[in-house]
Symmetry: D3
Subunit: 243 residues, 6 copies
């Protein structure tokens, strides 16, 4: 099967890193097709970044849809444009936050989320509520590490991340840790080997859920909210969406 | 004061209609500055339309912010990009759904929402939950009138709209009606004269709330979630956002 | 327009202070008509005080209703007798807690409430839940300043109030502060000039909402819960309510 | 033990009827002391009635408290002034709605509530939420029988009440019925003999809970919300509350 | 009346202790029939223990049902197998956690729960949510005293228990304390005499609620969820359940 | 990998059917090890059946745990004994209801559940709440087909099942259907080919989630709620649990 792996920010290095991570857990006959948008912010760290990234991301979803990929992954922990992408796509679309919450919920009663800037906390809380996992979360903790500093992470930043994970376990009662940024995907094995609880990374979780849905022949329902968008004119830089 | 009134869809006729509506309730020294985006869909009727409209809308917010307007109104019932706009703006930003729910809540125990396509129902339900008005809403009803058909509305469509309002009152227990589309703004007086309960239109509600906040010298809090977006590079058609 | 401003406690000095505050933000053609009940407690600081004040307050609502005022404000942060007042009145009735929560919600993602005695905390929490703003509130803090000590507030008490506001911002994540007592209305400008977030006072908020509803010709819905009370005999000190 | 049974409306006949009902289930050494207020409405059927009745009711609570009764029952399904009464009283104070919901919850997964006028529905819904029994209630149904028509109930009205109970069972999935008015207390045995599910009357439920608390030596906690009201001056017709 | 008092763990000493406690508050004509299962764990301290105890407990319920007892009490704070027991029984079945929450709710706005091992916290939280008392609970605190150590409790353990009660009052705002284990029943009077708030023990609370329901002729509803289990074959060690 | 597939009821035919279904979607190197308990009910259709089945099921979990299987599936839609099983097991334990809700949530905004007897509705509603999927469910519908009638299902029963699925889509707004019984697993392909929305079966969903967790090296967290049960004596037919 072919999985379109979209990094919604425009940092190609980060796309490369998460593609490696995705490929490392994929089945032999799963192709990971990594995509970086040509438009948008270098990282996504607030609602503004997310709105801009969302519009660019939908061009990629449409491209994947036309290519007939078997699943799309939106690899940013804010799950930007997820509902809109499901309207466009026939194959399943998986957000990495939803994926991580689901797998965490299968192996722990309460999980903690450890994320980047404090600015992103309301976004995580909103997703926990939207997906119904609020009561399963022992708390969301920020490290104040910027997204782009996660690539080639320095020792200091890694220690800070690890110590917030420990605080989540010891102070908040977290029984598992969800990594709150696609940029942390490369760190999941190291953290898992150094911490006493399961560590869940959304990118790899999403790959496995995409494979699961594909093997079950489950696609996005086109009845109801996720039906194709209504055809209509678009103008200006979005004129290509007219149909 | 100057209020930037943004119609997030690209139909200039609709912008004109809602500007008339807004001006009709504004105080003498309030200037309504209507804006139509140069980019985006002709109407907003699903999550996909909303994502595309959101990115275009933020350019206008930034333009208003640089001009130093005293308030911004986002005049689409989905309140698109509201949190992102509040990050960008110093003045208050008001979404017409939030405005309508608030005023309805002051004069009725339970209000009904009457909207356009059934496709938009999940969006309304999401906003009721986000703003905390779910328990005050007797139900959301779709008319299946497309947004653009509201301009120069035909007699049939008007009767359909009115009969859904009546059904909300008689079957659902609505004690007031919130109009679920900026395009219905011009109909509020006619409906109010023909129905036994208050009719609340978000566009005019938002104008009065904007004036209220201005006269109280209340602006968007720049501490916390609504602080200025983090500066960073943007590429492609969003390169102008780099700072 | 004429706004009946009811102080539900029997301290005329406090009525005077809040009338000044209300007048200071009112439009030129808005008359603030201040009312102090002839019956009831000097201040409202627990459920018992609130029940007694509520009965007295309704006489004033009825008086305002007969005079044809254009709006009624109940200026006590417990919003006493609000539903009952809406049954009696044709014009809108606004409680200062509901007014403050609404305006705070337009300019901040999370607001804190700073109030008087710890005894009043459950009342504030109940109102946040009733109005659906619980998830928008970062916490309610008591200062243990009695209501009547707010008039001619001493330096110590003012500092205590200010430091609870700061604690709400720094410890609880409040992005705006709602003042939890009508008696704090005179302090709103001083606090706003000394604190880094917007400060919302319910008395002035209610004045602007009353003007907003009036200019939109919105009145209390008389269909459903807020319909006129059923006529019936009353005895004893309430015999005047028989109809 | 001595239980003060307060009918919060001023209809002495109704007090008499509920006293009979209460006495019929009381233990041999339980004295039911029935009280009718000298002030207030003949019946309680909306928020306005409830506010007026509440103030009068507290005089009776205070009288019972001074007499040293062992429990107080507030016998109106709106549980008027319950929190305020608990502040005044040392002995337990029991509202008949809370009592009925509790016992219903012990013998049925879902119970229905059948009440008087449709006007009272929001009050019942508010209490279900306040006490946390909303998810246990299959629905609240109004009969549109006025409270005072329950005394010497006519055959028609009785049939109407019974048929709403049946509708609750058959259409809503009610597994037990809570009678939503103290005035229905005399009908509980007849209904129970004619319907296939348990029928719970709040007046008799409250008597048994009062006895239970008394025998366990449990009294109202005077720490926290139910502590004695703060002493202060009262004026006018409430001057007697000054202390 | 006859109340079957089931200790769901297999420690006969503990059964004896709780029977004494139950008898001490029972009415003169109430017979407490204590039961200890012949199968199952010595104490119940996690979900595993609870599942095993539940199956054994139902044999005792059925035995009580055949004997025609007037009520059944399940005396373990996890309320194990409560819904299943209500299906089997005609008489009311009362769990001690539900009983304690109900009586606590009548005399305090917020109650704390003090329990045994930290392992049991999720169970208590689940029950608070199931019964709708989550918003009435100021917090659940573990003492880390094993269940069986409560018998012949040592001075140290008693002081630990008491100090957690005090912490609940002083730090969490508890206005009453619910004892979170049937094994604490014998300590209720000592704790009540040494602490400033009411102490509620579920075993004694359940006895009084059982008497209350019996005197009101209220039995488990056999319509709906609590109807008799469907007849069917059972195999192996449960073959005796075939019917 | 080896997946222990436990049918919690004692019908070996049903175990065989679900094993076929599981094997049909498993990866080539996944072994499905089907287990039928030697103790317990022929089918699980109420809380009583579930309690009895739960105790027997844990013996099988322990057996699988000792064998070192890589995952356990509890294949009954009530997810019986799920928390207890997670305490015992080191590998992940997956309940088919939780599995089905998760996958349905990835491809539809709202899903309907179609189940067997009306008796099981409260169990499904409880699980939706426990897992946080209540707001994603458009409704649970019973067919009144007994569990065992699903094997070798007759044409009539199949039509009934299909027509409830259609009613869920057309009347309730279901965008996908979750099959509410492990016994329906064999029907998923036929239903999917005849209905316009995705059909999700929990047995096959659980197999894919088990594989996903295994490939990600994620096991049950042994810190917190799912830690090993406390060692202690057990008596009677559970004496083998003593450790």
């Amino acid at each position: 099967m072919r999985i379109q792996l979209i990094n919604p920010n425009s940092s190609a290095d980060m796309t490369q890193a998460m593609a490696l991570s995705a490929q490392s857990v994929a089945l032999p006959d799963t192709d990971i097709l990594p995509y970086t948008p040509s438009h948008g912010p270098k990282s996504i760290e607030c609602a503004f970044d997310e709105v801009i990234a969302s519009a660019a991301l939908l061009d990629l979803i449409e491209e994947g849809n036309r290519m007939g990929v078997d699943a799309h992954i939106i690899a940013c922990f804010g799950d930007p444009a997820l509902d809109a992408a499901r309207e466009l796509a026939n194959a399943p679309v998986i957000g990495i936050a939803e994926a991580a919450f689901q797998l965490a919920g299968l192996i722990a009663h309460k999980f903690g989320v450890v994320t980047t800037l404090a600015r992103t906390l309301p976004a995580s809380e909103h997703l926990l509520q939207k997906y119904g996992y609020q009561h399963r979360c022992s708390g969301v903790r920020a490290t104040d590490i910027p997204v782009l500093a996660l690539e080639n992470i320095e020792a200091d930043a890694y220690e800070c991340l690890k110590s917030e994970c420990l605080a989540a376990i010891q102070n908040d009662g977290a029984e598992a840790i969800v990594l709150g940024c696609a940029g942390m995907s490369a760190l999941v094995n190291k953290l898992a080997s150094e911490l006493p609880v399961p560590i869940i990374d959304g990118v790899t979780a999403a790959v496995k859920l995409a494979e699961a849905l594909h093997q079950l022949h489950l696609q996005t329902s086109k009845i109801g909210q996720y039906g194709q968008p209504v055809s209509k004119p678009f103008v200006g830089r979005y004129a290509h969406w007219t149909r």
